[in-house]
């Protein structure tokens, strides 16, 4: 906002848009502007309820936002509506029948890590 281009546009405002210049000049010390539109308390964007799915790590979402949608990370893609989704084959429903090859531990029981939510769940 303090770029040379912005300041030039401001200097030229009396010539390019005298009405806006007069309005800004009259209100410059208070910063308020005339606006008849009244917003709702919460805009649709500000209702925490939807968008990306719970299984998508927060850092994947942050990376996408910071990179302007260019960097989404391996194993993730964008749905038609821009929602991040997992693209690997693991989420196929056939998984219920096909548990794949499981490394067996003592007593031929499946070897498991910590049962606590954490280890296998991507970091917050």
């Amino acid at each position: 906002m303090t770029s040379p281009e912005a300041l030039l546009a401001l200097r030229e405002l009396p010539r390019t848009n005298p009405t806006l210049y007069d309005e800004i000049s009259a209100n410059r010390s208070v910063g308020e502007e005339s606006n008849e539109v009244e917003e709702d308390a919460f805009s649709p964007e500000n209702e925490i309820d939807g968008s990306d799915e719970t299984d998508i790590p927060t850092e994947v979402v942050r990376s996408l936002v910071v990179s302007d949608g260019r960097n989404i990370g391996d194993g993730y893609g964008l749905d038609n509506d821009g929602t991040i989704v997992r693209v690997g084959t693991a989420e196929g429903t056939s998984l219920i029948e096909d548990k794949g090859t499981v490394e067996l531990g003592r007593g031929h029981r499946a070897k498991t890590g910590s049962k606590r939510y954490g280890g296998e769940w991507e970091g917050h």
Partner: protein, 322 residues
């Protein structure tokens, strides 16, 4: 569902498929699974904000207004702050309901006034995230999270504020807006002025949207009288989705973090129960208001850490392409 799988069949989460992916019981998997079982999903969503026809002109004018204030008052980036309020349901996903296919009646969960709270984040144009204010439905301090709640002491130490609405909703009010300025916004500006070696009479710029309380004469008069060095700049009406820094990107990360924290608590609660050996059929999630309200402190602190990245905050405070 994730907790049951992790408890009863953790090997499903360990197996790596040929493409390198691992099963994470994603929401898309759960949806497909439920549909296959004959359930159907209904989702009530609000339409996204419709931009005014002359949005380019409106944003261009708003840009020049702000540039003029910044130039005339020599306001540095650290003294330019945007605040917004965000609605948060304790039970996220309550707008999605599942019913046996063909059923007419659709039950909604957690969508009443008591089952949500307002989160009020603020960011500066220099990339700082300020402590957050949180408004809870109720008349007294007892409506706020318990001081013994997880992360509460840390939140207080970091300057977070938990306040009852003392109204019939969980929304911000004149009183909570005033305490937001007194307890978070003005102290931040004062601290920054000191750090930057600027005089106390140095002006700051505060961007808020055109919500009725923000625009009310009562609030504007109070600001002029109590905090004369804070200049309010209203986000052009109907343009918050493209002009308000907090709406452009940060909300998405904030939402995701809160949802994951809430989900993590549910999984932990379920796992604790399953580990206790009591039959799963006897288990019911604790969805009482007090429990969820206390848990929300941890969600908020996690969300703060997840969005408190300078590259993210600076990214969203950059101007939109219009």
């Amino acid at each position: 569902m994730f907790a049951y799988i992790e408890h009863d069949a953790p090997e499903l989460l360990m197996h790596q498929f040929s493409d390198g992916s691992r099963f994470r019981c994603s929401e898309s998997f759960v949806r497909k699974y439920l549909r296959d079982l004959g359930w159907s999903e209904r989702c009530s969503t609000r339409a996204a904000q419709k931009l005014p026809d002359n949005v380019s002109q409106i944003l261009s004018d708003a840009f020049l207004r702000q540039t003029c204030i910044i130039r005339d008052h020599a306001i540095p980036a650290a003294l330019r702050v945007n605040t917004d309020q965000t609605q948060t349901h304790y039970q996220m996903g309550g707008k999605r309901t599942w019913n046996k296919r063909g059923e007419k009646q659709v039950a909604t969960m957690g969508m009443d006034e008591k089952r949500a709270f307002t989160l009020v984040p603020s960011i500066s144009a220099s990339g700082e995230l300020l402590p957050m204010q949180t408004i809870f439905f109720g008349q007294t301090e007892a409506s706020c999270p318990n001081k013994r709640a997880r992360c509460y002491a840390e939140a207080e130490k970091r300057g977070f504020k938990f306040e009852p609405s003392r109204s019939t909703t969980y929304w911000s009010t004149q009183a909570t807006m005033q305490s937001l300025v007194n307890d978070i916004i003005a102290p931040y500006f004062d601290k920054k002025k000191e750090e930057l070696g600027l005089p106390s009479k140095q002006c700051s710029l505060w961007m808020i949207d055109c919500w009725s309380v923000h625009k009310s004469k009562e609030f504007r008069d109070w600001m002029k009288k109590t905090h004369p060095t804070i200049i309010i700049s209203y986000i052009p009406g109907g343009c918050t989705g493209v002009w308000q820094p907090l709406d452009v990107g940060i909300q998405r990360v904030l939402k995701q973090s809160m949802k994951r924290s809430a989900h993590k608590d549910i999984v932990n609660e379920t796992m604790t129960h399953l580990d206790s050996g009591i039959p799963a059929s006897a288990f019911k999630l604790d969805t009482t208001l007090g429990t969820l309200r206390d848990r929300s402190v941890g969600w908020i602190m996690n969300a703060y850490d997840d969005i408190n990245h300078k590259d993210l905050v600076l990214k969203v405070t950059r101007l939109p392409d219009h």
